[in-house]
């Protein structure tokens, strides 16, 4: 695991027209006598991670062109949020990136607080950062499991890794259940702070869970790190830094393409300004680099969580009273943008307040990192085989709840 974690000074890449396979290839100009097969991969397919659909044009098994279609999971979340009061929006957002709900909640509530000028107490900021890091571990574990399953099939070695990853992820969910009473849709953040305080036995539980995860991580990585895995991932689905920036990729995908960018360090929120976040960067740009970056992030999150859980200060947990009154939180003017580093990248929330309806946002826009990851599909798929396409899609890790909203 020799991922360099020290900051590499990268020159600012000016996005120009990068050399990429043409996703808008006119198929009529493709070898006229080639027998192309159109394969509609998804929306009902075991490896599209939800209801993602890619129309593939195959020449034999080589992909010539890939056209992604999303929207099968569109629920109109943004519009819905414009009708809800600020205090009622949080539980809706849990369902967006359903692999890391805690960060969805945090992103929206940070935007609300910024809009209303509410200062969050230090204890709440610590707790938010801690659960964000724990959620990152859980999310990356889920990714690792499903990625292994993409490579290894539902009945084979991949499933073994999948089961192990879910077993470890379960420990984090147990922690969240202890803290909030819920295993998944927590609704623990609210405007001004957090709803649930740390139970007395919780820090010890966190340490125990982290120790278990760290110990077992090495054990089941030995199942993954063998020549077959490296053959399947190395040099597959390469995204160079320029293309990554042009596509607006963020998070592990951007860092795996060699761009040293992490909101936790570069635009700190919560208590990240008090922490020394080591950002994992890998210049490979392929599936293997993405795997290594995410693995390094799991380890880094374990380290940060240990630091955080030992240092949570005493004090109030919220600047406001969580009464859930519709009229409690009001904003009449202004617009804000808040970016949060989720396990998938920069989750942005853009808000506009209006005088007409002060209790709910006038416009609520979510910038999901997964949407940009899914947008990379037409650029990286062509030239690869169908098997590689599944590996690439797995490594891009788009969460459809977030892409379609």
């Amino acid at each position: 695991m020799a991922v360099s974690v020290e900051r590499v000074p990268t020159e600012v890449v000016v996005p120009t027209k990068a050399f990429v396979p043409d996703p808008y290839l006119d198929l009529d100009t493709y070898e006229a006598d080639a027998d192309l097969m159109t394969l509609s991969l998804g929306p009902q397919h075991p490896s599209t991670h939800g209801v993602f659909r890619v129309v593939l044009y195959l020449d034999g098994e080589i992909i010539v062109k890939a056209v992604p279609h999303c929207g099968y999971l569109h629920r109109g979340v943004e519009k819905l949020c414009e009708k809800l009061s600020y205090s009622n929006i949080t539980p809706i957002l849990d369902k967006n990136d359903y692999v890391s709900p805690m960060l969805n909640e945090q992103a929206a509530n940070m935007a609300f607080e910024k809009l209303m000028g509410i200062e969050v107490p230090l204890r709440a900021r610590y707790l938010r950062t801690l659960i964000a890091e724990l959620q990152r571990i859980a999310s990356h574990l889920l990714w690792l499991g499903t990625f292994a399953m993409d490579l290894g099939g539902a009945l084979g070695g991949g499933t073994s890794v999948f089961m192990f990853c879910f077993r470890e992820r379960e420990l984090i969910l147990d922690l969240f259940e202890e803290l909030t009473g819920c295993r998944f849709h927590y609704n623990t953040h609210h405007v001004g702070g957090n709803r649930h305080d740390i139970p007395p036995q919780w820090p010890a539980m966190v340490h125990q869970a982290l120790d278990t995860i760290e110990a077992r991580l090495d054990a089941y990585l030995s199942m993954l790190e063998h020549p077959i895995f490296i053959d399947r991932t190395k040099g597959v689905g390469t995204i160079d830094a320029q293309l990554a920036l042009e596509l607006g990729l963020s998070g592990p995908l951007l860092r795996a393409s060699g761009v040293d960018h992490d909101l936790r360090r570069d635009a700190p929120y919560g208590v990240y300004d008090l922490l020394d976040v080591k950002v994992a960067v890998d210049g490979g740009g392929d599936c293997y680099a993405r795997y290594k970056v995410r693995l390094a992030e799991i380890r880094e999150s374990i380290r940060l969580s240990r630091l955080l859980v030992d240092n949570v200060p005493a004090g109030p947990l919220s600047a406001t009273k969580p009464l859930n009154m519709v009229t409690q939180f009001k904003a009449t003017t202004g617009q804000v943008y808040v970016g949060v580093e989720t396990p998938r990248g920069e989750l942005g929330t853009w808000l506009i307040a209006s005088k007409d309806k002060p209790t709910s946002p006038y416009r609520f826009k979510i910038r999901p990192p997964s949407l940009h990851a899914a947008a990379a599909v037409p650029y990286v798929f062509p030239g690869h085989t169908l098997s590689d396409a599944i590996a690439i899609l797995g490594s891009l890790d788009p969460i459809m709840g977030e892409v379609d909203r």
């Binding site: 099939g153 063998h226 077959i228 098997s387």
Partner: protein
Amino acid sequence: MITNPWLNGLVFGAVLVTVLMTLVALITWFERKFAGRIQSRMGPTIVGPFGLFQPLADAVKAMQKESIIPRNADKFLFRLAPPLTIAFALGTAAVIPFAPGLLGSDLDIGVLYALAFSGLLAFPTWVAGWASNNKYALLGGMRMVAQGISYEIPMVLAALVPVVLAGSLSMGEIVKAQVQGGWFIATPVGLVACLLFLTTALAEGNRIPFDIPEAESELVAGPTTEYNAIGWSIFAASEYAHSVVTSGIAATLFLGGWDGWWRLPPVLWMALKTTVVFLLITWVRWSLLRLRSDQLMALCWKYLVPGALLLVLVAGIQVSVRG
């Protein structure tokens, strides 16, 4: 003994198929339990003691389901593929000696027959993939043909090593040679040949890391995508039957067949060895990932075929030096 060879064959065949299918049912339970333990879960526990009757419950469930044939499928071929698969998988077992004299037919060319029949398995899989009129199934069928044909060559070459060492193509003679001269797996050439044979058997039997035709995460279920109910069950059962039979062939060719050194009956020795080989295959299956099809081909033609040729050469030299 029945003197009429036709009647003899019929009776023995009926008994063999019954016993083998029971064994297959048992071995699916065994694999599921084994996989469960690998993945830190229980495996089947509900039906019967230790979940032993789970295969039975599954079969009954599959039989009760409605068999759906896609509208545009080639209905004749679609129905033909499952019985063909199980026929080829079980037919291979006819030449495996389970005990001295206890085998369907001691053909002079038993090894050739076994490999030819096991190689035929690619054919019904391709038929299923073609007849389904489904793109995933078609891709899976094509992959199966490519893989089946390619891996046939190193498999035959690996099986040639015990043939050269024993000086006979008859399965019975090969076992007898091992009873007299020691199991072939104990010799360096035999050990390498055994490993090579098992590797190619994984590819022939469509098992991880070579289960590229099925490839659930890519092709949904490969050639069997459109199959359901009993048709699908037959495919699943024939995959297991093929694995069991291949394990039996490997046990016969390299592990000394029914030969044993303790007072167990030869049939039990044979069963034990087959189980050990199957366990190995299962272990590999639940701990490795899948290769890509071009990597699979490269592995076959660049490494396995030349290696197997070299192995046959070494075995030939060994035999001629010993006289």
